[in-house]
């Protein structure tokens, strides 16, 4: 982790209304790396990603992204920051009233004065990078889940962002589509010289792909390290999570009264 950090979180806490979600988070995302934030559903990892994306502001603590404290930015500052980022949403979030081509061209038309000819060349290059140049004229409704995710990826990198954020990029994909998206995440990060943050709970697909992993549980970072470190972390939660064991620090049974009492056997005994 010697590379300078592109995103730094210091002593961050966050609460929705009065319900605390994140507690004393500290992490640093080194420039040029692919970093995963992993944990169970509801552990706060997507909230953390939204704080890094400056879509949410910390309740306390600091989030410094691309050299700027997000809490100190006004609306124009936030938008300027976001132009240097790309984000892939869980189910793509493609604009359903636009073709694949128009989806990828969207940011170029909104934020640049490029001619339509130049935009066309750039869109085709982005679509070629994800293998979907031939699908340029299709509408999002005509795409499979994997294709939609790849188009969303092409859209996320439309303006060559320095930081790419992925919110559960592998959810709901078949094994082939999943392998394609995983390979693209790594390939695009390296070819663009970008930094990537992946929020996910898919262990098998993510660990071979990333340079560094943060594990979260109950709104806290409980372990971190390279994928090799993770396997010998010795943290019980991480071992249960990585191996997919049904019982451990995260119990199989939701807390309940005695089983015998529920069955009416305790009284009889």
């Amino acid at each position: 982790m010697a590379a300078p950090a592109i995103a730094e979180i210091e002593d961050l806490t966050f609460a929705y209304d009065r319900r605390p979600v994140l507690h004393a988070i500290r992490l640093a995302i080194p420039r040029g790396k692919v970093v995963a934030i992993m944990g169970q559903s509801g552990c706060g990892k997507t909230t953390l990603l939204r704080i890094i994306a400056a879509a949410l502001m910390p309740s306390s603590g600091r989030a410094r992204v691309l050299g700027q404290l997000t809490s100190e930015l006004d609306r124009d500052g936030l938008y300027a920051l976001r132009r240097r980022m790309g984000m892939l949403f869980q189910f793509g979030a493609l604009f359903t009233d636009m073709s694949v081509y128009d989806n990828v061209a969207f940011q170029m038309r909104e934020h640049t004065d490029l001619s339509e000819d130049t935009i066309r060349d750039l869109v085709m290059m982005k679509l070629e990078a994800v293998g979907l140049r031939g699908a340029a004229e299709l509408m999002p409704g005509e795409l499979s889940g994997g294709m939609a995710r790849r188009v969303a990826l092409a859209r996320a990198i439309a303006l060559d962002p320095q930081l790419i954020l992925y919110d559960e990029p592998f959810t709901g994909l078949d094994p082939i589509a999943l392998g394609v998206v995983a390979r693209l995440v790594r390939q695009l990060n390296d070819s663009l010289g970008a930094t990537s943050i992946i929020v996910t709970h898919d262990v098998a697909e993510t660990l071979p792909l990333v340079d560094y992993v943060y594990f979260m549980a109950d709104g806290r970072v409980v372990a971190q390290g390279t994928p090799a470190d993770v396997h010998r972390s010795g943290v019980a939660f991480v071992e249960q999570f990585v191996r997919g064991e049904i019982d451990g620090p995260v119990p199989f049974h939701y807390p309940a009264a005695g089983y015998a009492a529920d069955l009416g056997l305790a009284q009889a005994a």
Binding site: A55, R83, F106
Partner: protein, 263 residues
């Protein structure tokens, strides 16, 4: 008793809070409406979806309302030997009241509900969040063109409704029943005033356009991002818009057609 009061207080507070939020949203929408005019192509697209696609229901409804007006009006007028005034009755009823009100109600059902559903679904499928993450303000890019598209469409639809209604009245009154054609048109021309009747009707339809379209975009933007949330918001758009049209119609009629303004 205490629980009931607490419940009532919470409901009132929530209502006031929502009204305040809607007012701030309206101000924000107006402030960020520049895109809707600088890139008028976006607004033209919404005029097509809200206005042009509503034409069939507006024209057909206008025709039948005019035909019914002529039938009912003739029945009453002939008792007093004033059947030649049928043109006045049909035109004034449509231009002053039925055109703006019925076209507004139809617009709320056809276009308002569609606007709410579209924006609500864009929110539920994270399209608005994606836009925000791309440093594009969804209020300026999505909401404002739909709002102004509706506001521009509504008076045009009301005018077409009235025109079609007058044609329906002509078909029944003149062609079917046999009222004198010259009297039908000339009395209408003499009695309908451009400022007091037509302009006031246009003002009414413009006010209804603002109310209906704002309710539609606000409900869509504020909808909980679930299937149930979007369906509830769509229903609220139709109900609230309809009530708003009827209430505003009373207020506007009281201001326009009473006292010294009455013809």
């Amino acid at each position: 008793m205490r629980a009931a009061l607490t419940h009532l207080g919470a409901a009132v507070t929530a209502g006031v809070w929502r009204l305040g939020y809607a007012t701030r949203f309206f101000g924000y929408l107006l402030w960020h409406s520049g895109t809707a005019f600088r890139r008028f192509r976006l607004t033209l697209r919404e005029i097509y979806f809200a206005g042009v696609l509503s034409l069939i229901i507006i024209l057909v409804s206008g025709l039948f309302v005019g035909m019914v007006l002529a039938l009912q009006g003739y029945e009453t007028l002939q008792r007093y030997g004033s059947s030649e005034a049928l043109g006045i009755l049909v035109a004034l009823s449509l231009v002053r009241e039925l055109g703006p009100v019925v076209a507004g109600l139809l617009f709320a059902s056809r276009a308002g509900s569609a606007i709410t559903a579209e924006i609500g679904l864009m929110k539920a499928t994270e399209q608005l969040s994606a836009m925000e993450m791309m440093a594009v303000d969804p209020v300026a890019r999505v909401v404002a063109p739909r709002f102004w598209g509706g506001v521009i469409s509504m008076p045009l639809l009301a005018a077409l409704f009235s025109a079609m209604g007058i044609f329906g009245g002509y078909l029944v009154g003149v062609v079917l029943i046999g009222v004198d054609e010259g009297a039908f048109w000339s009395q209408m021309q003499a009695a309908v005033d451009v400022r007091n009747d037509i302009l006031n009707g246009v003002i009414k339809s413009a006010v209804f356009g603002v109310a209906v379209t704002f309710i539609a975009v606000f409900e869509g933007y504020d909808a909980p991002p679930t299937a149930e949330g979007v369906s509830g918001a769509t229903t609220r758009t139709v109900v609230t818009s309809s009530l708003a049209i009827l209430a505003l119609d009373f207020v506007l009629t009281a201001l326009m057609f009473t006292g010294g303004n009455a013809k």
